[in-house]
């Protein structure tokens, strides 16, 4: 009896609190900004999209726009409903980074019909009309990372051939495919570079530790350098190399994660190709406003991806973190 009563009281209280919170959220949305906008992204699991979100929140104040940030939690159907909701709310433009190339296409077509301009950021949307596409080139980042690694290997020893290991991201993702394509291009361009081994480590540090241990077991001192599809896996490789008796092995990652860049101060042969989500987001908002105001815009805006090494690491960390 007592239990029932307290449970009822608990439910009633939570209902009151819940209503209050909801009301708070609703009133917050009302303001008199010049343009209303929306951003839909795959998942805030990735630091890249968190940085995108932070910049978006700053931009709302700087550019006098209102905005909603939709996190699809890696679910394609969630992202489709996110975009539909934004269209229903009649926003002035939507910036979308799709989970898969085709997954969000129906919702983008829906936006096309409702005359809501779609700004495609980062990953590509296929099969529907977008106003413009803003991205850094993942294939080119792969080429740059591989070439940087080769440059380091040449700096350490003069050999006729250099053996590179590749730590790959989750198979089937466009990012992993593109970054692998970049490596292939660099291999074709440089005869002195050969691929010693290539293995999937799921973009994860702990997977990369295990895979790297097995690489060290099977290849040992034949290893000249490591190219990782992201910085988290580069951290894993660093961990294993540090504990082994191998020395001076260059490791190059991609993304520009602060924890990876922080290791550069002790390691002159480490590098990353940094993505700049902040720049991508500002370009998206600025180009979006131009589209709404009826100005001509380009079909594609490439966001630069600078190479970070020991030399510019501190400057990079100060600017973005």
């Amino acid at each position: 009896m007592l239990a029932t009563a307290s449970r009822r009281r608990f439910l009633r209280r939570s209902a009151i609190v819940g209503t209050g919170v909801l009301a708070g959220c609703l009133t917050e949305g009302e303001n008199s900004a010049k343009y209303s906008t929306a951003v839909s992204i795959p998942s805030v699991e990735y630091q890249f999209f968190v940085r995108l979100q932070d910049r978006y929140e700053q931009l709302q104040k700087e550019r006098d726009i209102s905005g909603t940030f939709y996190d699809a939690q890696n679910s394609v159907s969630q992202q489709v409903s996110d975009v539909e909701t934004a269209v229903t709310n009649d926003v002035d433009f939507i910036a979308i980074s799709p989970i898969t190339e085709q997954g969000v296409t129906p919702a983008v077509k829906n936006a096309n019909e409702a005359d809501v301009p779609v700004i495609n950021i980062d990953r590509t949307i296929k099969g529907a009309e977008v106003a413009t596409h803003i991205a850094s080139d993942n294939v080119q980042m792969g080429v740059d990372a591989t070439n940087k690694c080769l440059e380091f290997m040449r700096g350490i020893a003069d050999k006729s051939s250099y053996n590179l290991l590749e730590l790959r991201g989750t198979p089937g993702t466009s990012v992993a495919n593109d970054r692998n394509e970049g490596l292939k291009r660099a291999l074709k361009e440089n005869d002195s570079l050969s691929l010693l081994g290539s293995q999937n480590a799921e973009f994860s540090t702990s997977e990369a530790v295990s895979v790297m241990e097995d690489f060290v077991t099977s290849h040992g001192d034949k290893i000249d350098g490591v190219y990782a599809h992201n910085d988290l896996m580069a951290l894993g490789a660093h961990r294993v190399i540090q504990d082994s008796n191998l020395s001076d092995i260059p490791i190059v990652g991609i993304d520009g994660t602060d924890t990876w860049v922080q290791t550069f101060s002790d390691n002159q042969y480490y590098a990353t190709v940094a993505q700049l989500p902040e720049k991508m987001m500002s370009t998206a908002v600025d180009v979006g406003i131009e589209v709404v105001e009826g100005k001509e815009v380009k079909e594609f805006y490439q966001t630069e991806a600078p190479i970070i090494t020991q030399e510019n690491a501190q400057q990079y960390l100060d600017e973005y973190f």
Binding site: V44, E45, Y46, Q47, V50, R168, P171, G197, S198, Q199, N200, E202, S204, T205, S206, E207, V209, S210, V211, E213, D214, F215, T217, S218, L232, L235, G236, H238, R239, T257, D258, T259, Q262, T263
Partner: protein
């Protein structure tokens, strides 16, 4: 006491004894893998590589031990990988002073992590046992909750610069043996002792075998069902700490990909997915099968696509062997 019972708890009592530990199917599978890889990969049987295998299986192993308790009790805990993320982020954040201005001493940080795990495990356990919500659902909810909390707390940034007191448990060696493996094997042994020699262990098998009968003989079913989920949640603290030693940092997404392998290992080792039978030695064998397979394929230089195919085939054969044994 149990001789007076009318209900049939014999299967339960049998699984408790060490006699039933020789569940030969999975062990033969493991021996087969060893023979295969020794023949084709030169470095496979070296001392160094065997130590590597021990290092590589230990994290999944600890999580598998944690999963074994709920599975034996006919429950399931889907939240352990994300609970590991959450406790890891909490402990590392407190110990490095990432969230509060002042650093907290390592024991206090670990206790805070443990308290969180016990509390959240308790919430899952309470909702499961009190309101008859399947643990599949409560722990799935807890998975999202823990994942979200760890992302929020950490701001989705990995944490480096961990104090050595935290990384020593997973990253050092004692007499040439990786400490992470010693932690895993100790936990495994203690867990088997709990299952074999305590009343709590006996009750787990009884409830997993037949919950109604267990209730009829006067076992406090609610408490035990809640207990297994609290226990599995608490073990994730250990998993988080050894993970820190292994990867040298804490990543709020470090549980990604660790949801199913521990459960697969438990079932591979011969435990019944629907509760009542299985033991820790089986879990060890299951973890070894998964670990040896990945290590051997890596040494053979099999690419990612081929590895997935090979893993699929081995899992199918192993599960088939399991079923035909019953």
């Amino acid at each position: 006491m149990f001789s007076e019972l009318k209900v049939d708890v014999r299967p339960a009592i049998e699984s408790v004894g060490f006699q039933k530990i020789g569940q030969y199917g999975p062990i033969f599978g493991l021996i087969g893998l060893y023979a295969l890889f020794s023949a084709f990969a030169d470095q496979f049987l070296t001392y160094g590589n065997q130590l590597n295998i021990l290092r590589q299986i230990s994290l999944i192993g600890i999580l598998a031990v944690a999963s074994t308790f709920p599975i034996l009790c006919a429950e399931i805990d889907l939240s352990i990988a994300q609970m590991m993320e959450l406790t890891g982020v909490l402990i590392a954040g407190l110990a490095t002073g990432s969230y509060v201005a002042q650093t907290v001493s390592v024991p206090v940080a670990v206790l805070a992590g443990l308290a969180t795990a016990v509390f959240l495990g308790g919430v899952s356990g309470f909702i499961t046992s009190r309101f008859e919500v399947p643990s599949f659902m409560t722990t799935l909810a807890m998975l999202f909750l823990a994942d979200g909390l760890s992302l929020t707390i950490s701001g989705n940034r990995p944490i480096r610069g961990l104090p050595e007191a935290l990384t020593a448990l997973g990253g050092s060696e004692i007499f040439g043996i990786p400490s992470i493996a010693l932690v895993f094997l100790t936990l495994l042994a203690v867990s088997q002792l709990i299952l074999s020699y305590t009343r709590f262990g006996l009750y787990i098998y009884a409830i997993g075998g037949n919950r109604e009968s267990a209730e009829l003989v006067g076992i406090n079913v609610k408490r035990v069902r809640m207990g297994v989920l609290v226990l599995s949640a608490s073990f994730t603290v250990l998993a988080a700490i050894v993970a820190m030693g292994r990867i040298g940092s804490v990543d709020p997404n470090m549980g990604t990909g660790l949801l199913l392998p521990p459960i697969a290992a438990v079932i591979l080792g011969g435990a019944n997915l629907f509760g009542g039978s299985g033991n820790m030695i089986g879990t060890l064998v299951g973890v070894l099968i998964l670990g040896v397979l990945a290590n051997g394929l890596n040494l053979l230089g099999i690419g990612p696509d081929g590895q997935l195919v090979a893993q699929g085939i081995v899992l199918l054969v192993a599960v088939l062997a399991n079923v035909s044994r019953r």
